[in-house]
């Protein structure tokens, strides 16, 4: 009797194993590396008749013999015209005979033209995709998304995905571009206290380079597509794209982006050029480091937002000329004052630009305004996003230029 029971038990276990093998094999097959093509960048352009032109970029597998090659990393690019992201992917699936997987997609590029029409649908669809990670960078390209993707070739990286993942990191030490991703963008899009922003990208053309004047005060006014940099790197990601809800309403140049990042406390250190107190029409480069986190206070005065921002920096002089004495306290104080006035005026201009021109609270001052309200209904009735255009800013910068780096007196 027990033998029969043992046999029955074994048969039962065998049946269960077979059932599960059948049941789960479909998913295994669907996600198997042989059947999947990993997308690394997705470009979205607007096309005729409310359609889209999608650019799908994949990496080309490198054989062992090619690994030492000094050429630019190979990629496979496809262009698909379709009515939606889903149907675009579907069409390409049929064409390449593999299923496109977005789990390694590091970059989503949307053309400026499309962004100006509104990208609500695209952002919601991408956020809904279980494969696409919220950390995928989002770029608004001055040129077409297709042109941006096909011409973005890294020089210092052998892997395209690595480049797409790490290029916004320079924002931490230059402040000239922003680091933002699909997750942040979606959150800001839905949030009632903040508006979304994105990386501004472009491809440097010869004409753009030629037209750029070289001046220590003006080279920080560059933005994507008008960079003074020439070299092997074609893509240029300076400045940022500003949105009001889902619509692109404007751009900030490198300096304005730096100002934005200082208020956000998202820059580790940065370089500014301020007038030299010892020499007329000359400038001194100073490395500034945020001393403490910015103090932001928002009050509603007679129905108008009154925004106070207090920033503190420490500075180290970078450019040193002959016969300079940076051990002289009065010179350091004058330099500190110059830094204060330079940063105050630029930050103020940048903030007024976001409120008066763009009417878009990309800084998230709305979160600070919530202090003045007891309930969410009061806050919603106040309509922060509408009132932000009337905001008054009071910017205070306290800089302390301490010394030079190695040469304090020449």
């Amino acid at each position: 009797m027990s033998q029969i029971s043992n046999i029955l038990k074994k048969i039962f276990i065998l049946i269960i194993i077979i059932v599960f093998m059948i049941g789960f094999s479909y998913s295994y097959k669907a996600l198997s590396i042989d059947n999947v093509a990993f997308l690394i960048a997705l470009g979205i352009d607007s096309s005729d008749n409310n359609n889209y032109q999608f650019t799908f970029q994949f990496t080309k597998p490198i054989s062992s013999g090619e690994s030492g090659s000094s050429e630019a990393p190979p990629s496979i690019d496809y262009i698909v015209n379709a009515s939606s992201i889903g149907s675009g992917i579907n069409l390409l699936n049929a064409h390449i005979g593999k299923e496109i997987n977005l789990s390694h997609c590091k970059l989503v590029v949307i053309s400026e033209e499309l962004a100006r029409k509104g990208i609500y649908k695209e952002i919601y669809t991408l956020t809904n995709d279980i494969e696409l990670r919220p950390s995928s960078n989002i770029v608004i390209s001055k040129c077409s998304a297709n042109y941006y993707i096909t011409n973005s070739k890294p020089v210092f990286e052998n892997l395209l995905p690595n480049y797409y993942e790490t290029f916004p990191n320079s924002s931490e030490f230059t402040g000239y571009n922003v680091k933002t991703n699909i997750g942040d963008f979606f959150d800001s899009l839905v949030c009632t206290s903040r508006e979304p922003y994105a990386i501004l990208g472009g491809i440097n053309s010869e004409s753009a380079n030629a037209s750029t004047s070289i001046n220590s005060q003006k080279d920080v006014n560059e933005k994507a597509n008008s960079s003074p940099v020439e070299g092997n790197v074609n893509s240029d990601n300076s400045g940022m794209a500003v949105f009001k809800n889902d619509v692109l309403v404007g751009e900030l140049n490198s300096l304005e982006t730096l100002c934005f990042l200082t208020v956000q406390n998202k820059v580790d250190h940065f370089l500014i050029s301020v007038p030299n107190p010892d020499e007329k029409n000359a400038y001194v480069d100073i490395y500034m480091t945020p001393d403490i986190a910015p103090k932001i206070d928002v009050k509603i005065v007679n129905g108008t937002p009154y925004i106070k921002v207090k920033l503190k920096f420490e500075g180290n002089i970078y450019s040193v000329a002959k016969n300079t004495n940076y051990l002289d306290n009065s010179i350091l104080n004058k330099l500190s004052e110059n830094c204060n006035s330079y940063l105050e005026s630029n930050i103020s201009n940048c903030l007024y630009k976001t409120s008066k021109n763009f009417k878009s609270d990309i800084n998230g001052f709305g979160f600070y305004a919530r202090d003045d309200f007891l309930t969410l209904n009061d806050y919603k009735n106040y309509n922060w996003n509408y009132k932000y255009k009337d905001a008054v800013f009071d910017i205070t910068v306290e800089s302390n230029v301490k010394s030079s780096f190695l040469l304090n007196q020449t």
Binding site: P134, C191, L376
Partner: protein
């Protein structure tokens, strides 16, 4: 026999299992949707009420040493009443288990098994229940005790590693939708403390029954801290969770964990831990259901009933036609069941049984 009794840490882990299992699905998001930015105040308020309820249950149940709610209902209303109450609690256990596995399996299907019919995933959990229930209850509880610290550490890790993505100002305005919403309609968030139900069944299993009070306070306190971490993570990270329904909100939060390019995609580890936790939860609830059935049928062995309860859990879990119905079962039906069965029915039985006992004592004294 001494080995089959539950120690204090095991009992605390047992109660916490219920908190954890529901937090994985949509409980933190439901809490957030009810009270929005005032969630942390509401959670403190609700936790105090839950603690008072827990202490009340302890005070009422300690007069019936080594008796669970089924024994007490037999004392109160005889065998028929015991059977009715047994069925109600069994329904509660089976229903909440079904809701949990259905909703969790929906998430697993979307993430890992897009081409697999959900029935296979549900079947895997149901078979796990059958297998684990062949062992002693203490075995399941010991496994649960091993898993619980891992879960608590993982949620602490989820919270701390997402700190960079936090905006603490999301807790403002401090009163959310207002005082009424925070303190009156917000009482609905007591549903998150459904783990209290375990207290009704603990006394017969306890190695040291006199420590039930300690177990009650410790489990509600740790459960509250755990809920704070879960809800806090979501509240500080996302602006939209009170407006947009996410499949597994904590999973979404875990997708943001990155330590540069060095350590990424840790969400799979979280899912693995949560699969084990759901399996533990199911084993415990189906075991409790089989124990109720055993008492109702006056049998010596509860193991054969484990198959019945597992089949019932599986059958109910396949019933919802789509994700929307399964989600509704979790966010609405389960919440009301907690109020009706755990807080109202359970406490009423204990109160009435205590009154009856006092009267009997008075009569015998006279």
């Amino acid at each position: 026999m001494a080995n089959s009794k539950i120690t204090v840490p095991e009992a605390i882990a047992l109660v916490l299992t219920v908190f954890v299992a529901h937090s994985i699905i949509s409980m933190p998001q439901d809490i957030l949707a009810t009270t929005k930015s005032s969630t942390l105040i509401n959670l403190t308020y609700v936790a105090v009420i839950a603690l008072l309820i827990g202490i009340l249950i302890y005070k009422l149940i300690k007069n019936f040493p080594s008796c669970d709610i089924i024994d007490i209902s037999e004392y109160l209303g005889g065998k028929v009443f015991k059977t009715i109450i047994g069925f109600i609690f069994m329904f509660y256990f089976i229903f909440s288990s079904s809701v949990i596995i259905r909703n969790f399996s929906e998430g697993l299907k979307e993430i890992f098994y897009p081409m697999t019919n959900i029935v296979f995933i549900l079947l895997a959990f149901a078979i796990t229940c059958c297998i684990t229930n062949r062992f002693e209850f203490s075995t399941n509880i010991k496994v649960n005790l091993i898993l619980m610290p891992i879960i608590l550490i993982s949620i602490l890790f989820l919270f701390t590693s997402n700190i960079q993505n936090f905006s603490l100002r999301r807790v403002l305005p401090i009163l959310g939708d207002g005082i009424y919403s925070t303190f009156i309609t917000g009482l609905g968030n007591l549903g998150a403390f459904g783990g209290i139900v375990i207290l009704y069944f603990l006394p017969p299993f306890l190695k040291e029954p006199e420590k039930l009070k300690k177990i009650t306070i410790a489990s509600i306190f740790i459960g509250t801290v755990y809920l704070f971490l879960c809800v806090g993570t979501l509240l500080f990270m996302f602006s939209y969770l009170d407006q947009i329904e996410e499949l597994l909100p904590l999973y979404s939060a875990s997708r943001y964990i990155e330590f540069g390019t060095f350590l990424q995609r840790l969400e799979s580890v979280f899912l693995l831990i949560w699969v084990l936790e759901i399996a533990c939860y199911l084993s415990i609830f189906t075991k409790l259901s089989s124990l109720i059935l055993k008492k109702m049928c006056n049998c010596n062995d509860s193991r054969p009933f484990a198959y019945i309860t597992s089949v019932l859990v599986f059958s109910i879990s396949v019933l919802p036609a789509n994700n929307a119905i399964a989600g509704l079962m979790e966010s609405m039906v389960y919440k009301y069941l907690v109020f009706a069965i755990v807080f109202f029915l359970g406490i009423s039985i204990l109160l009435l049984a205590n009154i009856k006992k006092r009267r009997t004592l008075n009569v015998s004294n006279k």
